[in-house]
């Protein structure tokens, strides 16, 4: 019946309606598999429900969709052939690394082929003298640092999922970590990429030199969430491992004093390697969980890490202690050994799972604000927390203004999830109003599509689509992610956690 109605419609409209109503037709899927067999080993094509199921989501498990097919090419030529084929057949493609992303960027689409880069897991070259490494996109973030540690070198960006997440995914999300303030994001630590366009063209961007001719396409690829090209090789910058790192923990009887201390440290001309803050609820949860030695009666604590040569660490630690004392710290502790340093960090790194024990569910926000807005934003969150009757634990990358408020709730209580989402929506809007951003490091993916409308107007969104079309005019590569169409604006994003069970519970979250 539907088919009969459709035949009267314009071809384009018909196509889009069919698309909306039907998963990929059996015949088309069979033809695609037949053609894929010509370019891939049979073991690299997954087509059965059991095989496809594990790919239905990434680290944001509330959004699920089983794809039409999953392919796992082993060589650039194979990946290229897959893209050429999908481009010719007008089949959508979603690239995927380790699937640890927190915004649904690698969530499949119903009619899409998931292009897994899992088999691209080789370190191709390590240049000790030039301090660079050429790696395949499926190499894990931490594996790079491990492979070069005997040379006294490391790869600086350290997203919390670094034992599992891949460098290709890091580039796609422009991943951060705890040390961004001093060492930058992924975009600051990558020198070159090889990408495949949706048409299957292999393009080299940069290499081992510090810049390239033409537009900075290398920067544009970072954080493009798999919409512009598929990354098949990454050249990263390696840094000499600092001689020493020390951390100071300072407690405050007032959150605003702690916020002020963050500004004071920066004003004193100090650039900490890490500068983190936790509020009372987060401290208590973390201390009960990790026994890091935090004072549980404090309203806030700061963790300020300094690294460098032993001389400069000692100079700056003295300066940091002075500033914190002056800012009204009620208690201070400076790590005297590597094990003490790790212990002081243990509580912060366990903060998410620790908070997860306080309530059946929590909802993690990822907004950024100017540091000066911190007291105002915190006060407002506290007011809303009372209004909604939902407790909030706050952990921040305070040095760069990236906040992760964790709203505690119980999804089994009728209406509570909705209230939590409303609350979250207001926090992200407040971030934008305060001069910040709806996402500091988790990405937009499918999760924050609606919040994008809060941050950007129609002209900007159209410009984003124009950039997308410049790379992929048929919008076949990870379509529908990262940039919302003009008419959608409703829900707000979240990292949904049920009963304290995080996706990838083995990973540290901070």
């Amino acid at each position: 019946m539907l088919q009969n109605i459709l035949c009267f419609l314009e071809v384009d409209v018909r196509k889009s309606i069919l698309h909306a109503f039907y998963p990929m037709q059996r015949a088309q899927k069979d033809r695609l598999i037949q053609r894929l067999i010509d370019v891939l080993p049979q073991t690299s094509i997954l087509a059965s429900q059991e095989e496809l199921k594990p790919y239905e989501c990434d680290g944001l498990s509330v959004y699920r969709q089983v794809p039409a097919l999953v392919v796992l090419p082993e060589t650039v030529a194979q990946a290229q052939a897959v893209l050429q084929l999908c481009h010719a057949e007008k089949v959508e493609v979603v690239a995927r690394g380790a699937g640890t992303g927190l915004s649904g960027g690698a969530m499949p689409l119903e009619n899409a082929v998931v292009l897994s880069l899992a088999k691209f897991n080789h370190i191709l070259n390590i240049n000790k003298a030039g301090r660079t490494a050429v790696v395949e996109p499926g190499v894990r973030n931490l594996a790079i640092s491990e492979a070069v540690s005997h040379l006294g070198l490391y790869y600086a960006p350290d997203p919390s999922s670094q034992i599992a997440c891949t460098i290709g995914g890091n580039v796609a999300e422009n991943s951060g970590g705890v040390h961004c303030l001093k060492y930058g994001l992924t975009v600051h630590n990558v020198l070159g990429l090889k990408i495949l366009t949706m048409q299957g063209d292999l393009i080299e961007l940069g290499g081992e030199s510090l810049d390239t001719a033409g537009f900075d396409l290398l920067a544009l690829m970072h954080g493009s969430e798999g919409l512009l090209g598929v990354i098949v090789e990454v050249t990263v910058k390696l840094l000499p491992r600092p001689e020493l790192a020390q951390v100071v923990m300072a407690a405050f009887d007032d959150v605003e004093k702690a916020g002020q201390a963050v500004g004071d440290i920066i004003a004193a001309g100090i650039v900490p390697a890490g500068l983190e803050m936790m509020d009372r609820l987060a401290i208590q949860a973390a201390e009960a969980f990790a026994h890091a030695g935090y004072p549980t009666d404090a309203e806030a604590i700061l963790l300020c890490e300094i690294d460098g040569t032993s001389e400069s660490v000692s100079d700056f630690i003295t300066a940091v202690e002075e500033v914190l004392k002056h800012a009204g710290a009620t208690e201070m502790k400076t790590s005297a050994s590597e094990s003490e340093r790790l212990q002081l960090w243990a509580g912060r790194k366990a903060a998410f799972p620790a908070v997860g024990r306080l309530a059946p569910d929590y909802y993690c926000m990822d907004g950024t604000i100017p540091k000066s807005a911190l007291p105002t934003v915190l006060r407002q969150i506290a007011l809303w927390s009372e209004e909604y009757g939902l407790p909030v634990a706050n952990v921040f990358h305070a040095g760069d203004g990236n906040m992760h408020p964790l709203i505690l709730y119980d999804a089994n209580k009728p209406g509570e999830l909705q209230r939590t989402e409303d609350f979250g929506a207001r926090i992200l809007e407040l971030c934008v109003q305060s001069g910040g951003s709806i996402t500091g490091e988790h990405g937009v993916g499918v999760e924050k599509l609606d919040s994008m409308c809060v941050q950007f107007g129609a002209k900007e969104l159209q410009q984003f689509f124009a950039v997308k079309d410049a790379f992929d005019s048929e919008r076949l590569l990870n379509p529908g992610k990262a940039v919302p169409t003009l008419h959608r604006c409703a829900e707000l994003g979240r990292m949904h956690v049920h009963n304290g069970a995080l996706p990838h519970p083995e990973l540290e979250r901070f």
Partner: protein
């Protein structure tokens, strides 16, 4: 000066298909290819719009003089970490970012684009948009403000730019060691791989210069470790290198900038004369005075793993930047189309067909 006037001029040019030549302080008119077009003057669109030292972020209008920005930062003992050259007193923030210029500190602190956090801009259709922002971590939307950096005004007119800034060094010292270029490349890469706070390295063929910045005690230790002689006026030396005021740069011949991996050997082409070269960026940026044909220099730079720019002098009508691959050029053209469909913004400034 009103933003509306700039927007109107672009809208009119878009409708009429008139090429525009964007000018800030006109201090870098010699850079890139020579173009003709109606002047779009941004030099009067000035002012620091926000600067809170504890945020480590400054936002200013594109026509603001670079010198005004550095003095505002100096007052709070902060600086632009990428150490941009001015090449003249009239240099503006917009021009600096549009050229993507960075100074001697670049390999150790990061480049101009690394510190661009956001911009407000007008595209070739006269549409105003804000991208990025004033916070350090921000992954909402494509990174258009970094794409604008170094695009020579061919994608849009930047109105306002936000940059991350950092505190000044506490102490600084410059030392020099004797060595030819090959020794220099080896030594510079060696110390870049150490934990010492080296923030600039250069070589002129007979001496290798190292700048060390940090707390007094760490500088003292580093100076001892590197050895050599203390250089008396390090501040002036690095300023002269950055601004091309060394006698080396006083020459009639075309000046080439060759960007290669820092450990690329000195000998990247046949028949090299040491006195025609100056090496900066710890080996990664090499200056060459040469009348050789562009194709030859482009090919040598490519062979060494990098690219070349005819920086000053030479043929302003020919190509001045290393040729792009076919795939890259296709993306460049489609991006140009995405921002400036009528091709009115600085057409041909970067590449003849762009």
């Amino acid at each position: 000066m009103q933003e509306a006037i700039l927007r109107q001029q672009i809208e009119h040019a878009c409708m009429a298909g008139t090429a525009l030549n964007i000018v800030g302080g006109n201090s870098k008119a010699w850079y890139g290819r020579e173009i003709t077009g109606e002047t779009l003057n941004v030099g009067e669109y000035t002012g620091i719009t926000s600067y809170q030292p504890t945020e480590l972020v400054i936002t200013a209008k594109a026509g603001t003089k670079l010198s005004d920005i550095t003095s505002a930062l100096d007052e709070h003992k902060q600086r632009l970490p990428f150490d941009p050259p001015c090449f003249g007193e009239t240099a503006t923030l917009g021009g600096t970012v549009a050229c993507g210029f960075s100074g001697p500190r670049r390999p150790y602190a990061g480049s101009c684009r690394d510190f661009v956090l956001g911009c407000r801009m007008i595209n070739g259709k006269g549409e105003v948009g804000s991208f990025g922002g004033e916070v350090m971590k921000n992954v909402a939307g494509f990174d258009i403000s970094r794409l604008m950096t170094g695009s020579l005004g061919t994608l849009g007119l930047m109105l306002e730019i936000s940059l991350k800034v950092l505190p000044h060094r506490q102490s600084e010292q410059t030392v020099m060691l004797e060595g030819d270029f090959s020794d220099a490349i080896h030594a510079m890469n060696h110390w870049a791989g150490s934990t010492l706070p080296v923030t600039a390295m250069a070589a002129d063929g007979s001496q290798i210069y190292f700048r060390i910045c940090g707390t007094a005690s760490s500088v003292e230790k580093s100076v001892k470790q590197i050895g050599g002689h203390l250089y008396d006026d390090g501040l002036q030396l690095w300023k002269d290198i950055r601004e091309h005021q060394l006698p080396f740069f006083d020459d009639e011949r075309p000046l080439w900038r060759i960007s290669v991996p820092s450990d690329a050997p000195f000998q990247i082409m046949e028949d090299m004369h040491e006195h025609d070269w100056f090496i900066g960026w710890g080996g990664a940026q090499r200056w060459l005075k040469s009348e050789l044909p562009a194709e030859l220099i482009f090919a040598a730079a490519k062979h060494a793993g990098g690219h070349a720019t005819l920086f000053r002098g030479g043929d302003r009508a020919g190509e001045r930047f290393s040729p792009l691959s076919e795939g890259e050029m296709r993306l460049h053209k489609s991006l140009k189309q995405a921002f400036d469909p009528e091709g009115i913004l600085n057409p041909g400034r970067m590449y003849r067909d762009l």
